[in-house]
Amino acid sequence: MSHDSCHHCRLPIPPADAIIDRIDGVELRFCCQGCLSVYRIISGAGLGTYYQKRQLSPSGSQGGTIQDTYDDGYLSGFVLQRHGRGELSFLIEGIRCASCVWLVERYLGSLAGVSEIRVNYGTHRGRIVFDPAAVTPSEIFAAVARLGYTPRPFSYDAARQAEEREQRTTLIRFGTACFLSMQLMGYSLALYAGYFQGIDPASRKLMQYFAALVTTPVVFYSGWPFLGGALRSLRNRTANMDLLIALGVLSAYGASLFALYGGGEVYFDTAAMIVTLILAGRLFEGSARRRAASGVDRLLRLAPEIAHREIGDKTEAVATGSLKIGDILLVRPGERLPVDGTILAGSTEIDEAAVSGEPLPVPRIAGEAVIAGTLNLTASVRVQVTAPAADSFVARVARLVEEAQSRRAPVQRLADRVAAVFVPLVVLVAGATFVYWIWTGGTVDPLLAAVAVLVIACPCALGLATPTAVLVATGASAGRGILFRGGDVLEGTARLTLAAFDKTGTLTEGKPRIAAIRPSAGSEEDLLHLVARAEGGSNHPLARCIVAEARRRGLETGDGEGTRTLPGLGVELGLEEGMLRVGSRRFLRQAGIGGMEPFSAEPLTEIHAALGDRYLGSILCEDTLRPEAADAVARFRRLGIGTAMLTGDTVEAARRIGAQLGIDEVHGALSPADKAEWVKKAMARGERVLMVGDGINDAPALSEADVGCAMAGGTDIALETSDLVLTRPDLMTLVTGIEVARRTLDIIRQNLFWAFAYNILALPLAASGELAPIHAAAAMAASSICVVGNSLRLKNL
């Protein structure tokens, strides 16, 4: 529909997601805050010829009101002073695309006193250098908030700095290994050529010395992580990949050094190649994982750091951490609650989506409990603190997540298990070779033969077997909307036996939709038209779904003028024909209007309407099941994976949906800790559990499970704690993901076979003391080509 495309970018607007702005009475519709903001800036700077002079209208309560949540006193703790200039790092939430980054950079750059601004596309972190005399940190934050994004202060703590240093060190190790291996390749080529056509001994010696020179840093600097890992593995008395790598590298290097003095062939290129290729593999694997920032940190930042405490008849801003039980706070509309508490006075609607995933705002009246981090939507309330910030619901969930993450044993990798068998075997064969040649006392040097066995048994293709398969599989599945966070996740996904789903937003759409329109008289359109007139200016999800439906049918909608919102009840609009009331059953009953049908048995949300004292009828909204949910559950069964549903909703609601979808096990009324506990128990039974969820209440279970899966559109914390992310909200892609993972595991198994196959063929040569460098090179090249070629087959899944 042409009238439902974004005024700025011309893309279609998803129903009920429109952001509406009014200019000279003309209604302009945008698909996101970014487009609206770009429009505002372009027109504000007088650059847009299409855009005429306009006035801004506040766009409802989107996000939190950040302007007065952070003050300079608090933010100055995050500012670094450098040569008289301030430097501030902050995290920007709400960035979706490249133009969002562009917008923030350009806009902040235009502020007076800002000399440098850079926003990282991958991590959404901004770094700004400014003149403290001309602009304050809170002004900068206010500017970001004005664009519709949410800035959060971000401190470089020790852990994060160490992590960043680690990444850079790995990159430098790899770069160094690459540079030196390239040099080495030249000398090795000369030596190989010399092997076939003859070379004078002086040149040969020279090449060997240079080869030794460049290989030494590769082994001991670039290869340090493997050597360290091998040492740890020896201490733990469990053989792993690192030990196998270290064994191969050190034996090749040692034998070559020995040959350098004693005469004979050198294998420096083997040692350097093993290190370089395996480092490359680790970089591949790390790049997928690195995108994840610290999820727990973000979770805790959900609650504002500043609260407004009432003292006498005044309020003062205090740090959230200093609040005590019994303190009384004032929470204004648009603010997030700093701590858990009970409402003392006032009634409002609270958006708990960030915490529970529940899409509809929940009405809360005096005496009811509210949760830290949730958003107060409609009215100011006085809240009595029931738990200090460190004990709030969100903080408790964060602790659960942290515990689960620290406790969870890493998925034991296939390659490690292979190494555990292979290392003792190789050492045994090498030892046997040594003993045999001493025993027979032939012409062959026993030590050299034993070392040759070690060299040939540690294939460098081993380092490529897992990473190349993971790289190709993650690349191919990313195109289908499945993001695997690393190779162990792929392995874990392939072995799943049980899938547990959250209900709201996972099996259901998480967005209300109109199920039925029931006018008491007249047509559906008439009723919808009247209701849409009253609800036109509202940001309530139910209102937006009604307005979207009215627009779809080509009906006119209201603009919110003259309407009065009663939190938790409904809206009123005075018309010539009488007072138009739209809202809950209770709201109409309070106004003395009767005639409503009795409650229906279905779990639907009802919206009733009345004009004057005449009852008009009702509109029923529901959170619909995802259309593919039933199919997906059936496919899971066919893959041999059991299904379960874990939800915080009532047991009856859970049972009904479970029966509809054919889910094996259904559990309702679960808290976040209960869900995690259930997952833990299932894992103790030996099940390999997949948890699919989207809210904060799923976060502990997501990180507890073997594989946690979040869908796009879920809360940030769910995305951060999950191992597997679906970028399209489609459960069928999850089924595809599992199939891809299983296929990948097969390929990894084949790769491991090929990695060893050729080298094992060359093993008798080594044991008999006949190994020439050309044999080692041939075995290595053949296995590497097989492994890479085999992995590439994953591309055309």
Partner: protein, 63 residues
């Protein structure tokens, strides 16, 4: 023959070391921290962000 080879090898080592030092400098400076951004930034042909007069100031004072 041998000495000319030696000179060439040492020359190539020096050349490579130069490139290696530039690489390390780039990593330390954080050039590889944001590998996503480059492909978008190269398409921006606007002037670098500076103050652009009154209109933007007016914007930033709006509520």
């Amino acid at each position: 023959m041998l000495s000319s080879t030696l000179i060439l090898i040492i020359l190539s080592l020096f050349l490579g070391t130069g490139v290696w030092l530039i690489f390390i400098w780039a990593v330390k400076k954080g050039e590889f921290d944001d590998i996503e951004g480059a492909k978008y930034r190269m398409l921006e042909d606007d002037p670098p962000p500076t103050r652009q007069g009154d209109d933007i100031d007016k914007q930033s004072r709006l509520p």
